[in-house]
């Protein structure tokens, strides 16, 4: 109890310095992992998920910027016979009898001929080269295993009126694995996407199906598709960019500069503050403090400040991770474009070393204090 009171008294006696150390350390422990993650942790020699040399020279194309990106309209401008990807044609609803909430919605995605026959095979999907005569091959949403049985044939429909369409599908399996989803973003980690809430049907793309993006498996250049109004990038270039251009050293350099600055500021402040600490320790000694207790209290105080700063930083980083992370393709872990826990705790370790370095001079000065000498210089202030 006494030791807690001594600690509290010590904290209050250096309140301003403690607050400055706390704020500076917390701030840098938030900023540093963000910069570190952008510069080091995200660097990978791995290819974009779904990348292969077989598709490297084709262009990933986005039609999203076009006013009308329904299939029939795209056919007027683009060589859609070379399109490898999926087209969306509405949704179907299913309501489980034991669910009180609104029904679940499942999207109907139509796999193009090129995608089914010429893209490298993916685990869990195996469409026939030719479409069977009486039905279409399909993979059902994983949630609907109880409704759709493998090997059975079902009728599925979508919309009403002129948009009404009906298909007879044979269930080959369920969408438990990711399927191709090409999008020519500046930074792309994957050409694969989780499909667990979709029907994947290998059939002719419906006239009014919408196509956001896909791979054009032709010998035409990405400039060709760009000139037609789409956004296009060559897959190989995307793969190279992913490995190199996302690295942002600029931010890291600023962070390292800030850390060095903070180390110097804390070091200088703590070193000069230690004169006051030594005097105070001398007074505490003559009034009944033990040298070991005084020194241990000061060390505990400084560690406590770092620990509180770490807690603050961890909470903030936790919020960033929670807000920005998304399930990885395997679904087992979370990925983030900004920071992850491993990077955060690596940076906490680095900051702890920097923190120890910055307070070491002042602490060494305090460790060597001699009570009587401290008091003989008691007019320091």
């Amino acid at each position: 109890m006494n030791k807690l009171r001594i600690l509290k008294s010590s904290l209050f006696s250096t309140a301003l310095l403690s607050i400055v150390i706390l704020i500076a350390t917390s701030f840098i422990m938030v900023v540093f992992p963000l910069a570190y993650y952008q510069s080091f942790a995200r660097i990978s020699d791995d290819d974009i998920a779904g990348y292969s040399e077989d598709i490297a020279d084709y262009s990933a194309v986005s039609f999203a910027s076009l006013e009308n990106h329904q299939y029939y309209n795209l056919c007027k401008t683009f060589d859609m016979e070379n399109f490898a990807g999926t087209a969306s044609y509405g949704y179907v609803e299913y309501k489980s009898p034991d669910e009180l909430d609104s029904p679940q919605v499942y999207e109907l995605l139509f796999v193009s001929e090129k995608a089914a026959n010429e893209l490298p095979a993916l685990q869990g999907y195996n469409f026939s080269k030719t479409k069977p005569k009486n039905y279409r091959e399909a993979y059902a949403p994983t949630n609907l295993k109880n409704v759709y049985k493998v090997g059975e044939i079902y009728t599925i429909s979508c919309y009403e009126g002129v948009y009404y369409k009906e298909w007879t599908i044979k269930i080959l399996g369920y969408c438990e694995n990711p399927y191709y989803d090409f999008y020519p973003a500046y930074y792309t980690e994957s050409f694969l996407k989780d499909m667990w809430s979709n029907f994947l049907i290998f059939d002719d793309i419906p006239t009014y199906a919408k196509i956001e993006s896909g791979l054009m498996m032709s010998d035409k250049s990405s400039e060709y598709y760009s000139n037609l109004g789409a956004y296009a990038r060559v897959v190989r270039e995307m793969n190279i960019d992913r490995k190199t251009s996302e690295v942002n050293d600029f931010f890291l350099y600023w962070c390292i500069s800030a850390i060095i600055l903070i180390v110097i500021v804390v070091m200088a402040n703590y070193y000069f503050a230690s004169d006051k600490l030594i005097k105070r320790s001398g007074v505490m000694y003559i009034y009944g403090g033990k040298r070991s207790t005084i020194i241990c209290t000061e060390i505990v105080k400084m560690l406590l400040l770092f620990f509180i700063a770490m807690l603050i930083a961890t909470m903030i980083i936790g919020i960033v991770i929670a807000e920005t992370s998304y399930p990885s393709l395997s679904g087992e872990t979370l990925a983030s474009d900004y920071v992850d826990w491993k990077t955060h705790f690596t940076c906490v370790g680095i900051m702890f070393a920097a923190y120890l370095a910055s307070i070491s001079l002042g602490l060494i000065k305090l460790l060597r204090f001699k009570p009587l000498k401290a008091l003989s210089n008691n007019n320091i202030e």
Binding site: K276, G288, K290, P371, E381
Partner: protein, 224 residues
Amino acid sequence: MEIINLMNIHKKYNKDKPNEVHALCGVDLVINKGESVAIMGVSGSGKSTLLNIIGCLDKMTDGNYLLNGENINTKNATELAEIRNSTFGFVLQSYGLIDSDKVVNNVRLPLLFSKKYKPNEQNDHIDTVLYRLKIANLKNVKVRELSGGQKQRVAIARAMVNDPDIILADEPTSALDSTTATEIIDILKNLKKKGKTIIVVTHDINVAQKMDRIVTIIDGKICQ
């Protein structure tokens, strides 16, 4: 009744080194409970060293020291710390206050280690001590804003806040004008009237003459 009994005390600094200093050479001194004693001597005569040994701040090289009949030589660091806290109140040369702290925080310092006052009693007790020394209005003022006389009152408040038996004062009036010095001596005399033992190290014969007894120390030896 004797409270302090120093027997053949020796203190050597840098012992067995070429720059060895023999600060105290066989000091014998008995001080009774409730007595006020002035220790006088020129600079370097050993009077501050003697005060530090009496206050258990420094260890003697040789000799015996009985405090309240107990041999100090046998005490470990924890016991000595407890003795310093419970038995002595120190008034340091140049006040020894933390200038950037408030008066109340300076006075509270000895109570951090005290077993005499519970935490919930301490604030009231500090108020009482400050009131007695006529500095209650300065409770929340920072020490750096005080005059020399006010600082010395704060230093005395800190020395007496834990209700010690012995007050040790090292040059308590050296930085004060004569009027303020007289006020401070009166405060110390009042403490003596309340049964406290007062030991004052001073150069000032006027201060020394107001004590019950004057002990002069020359070259580490007492000449009474």
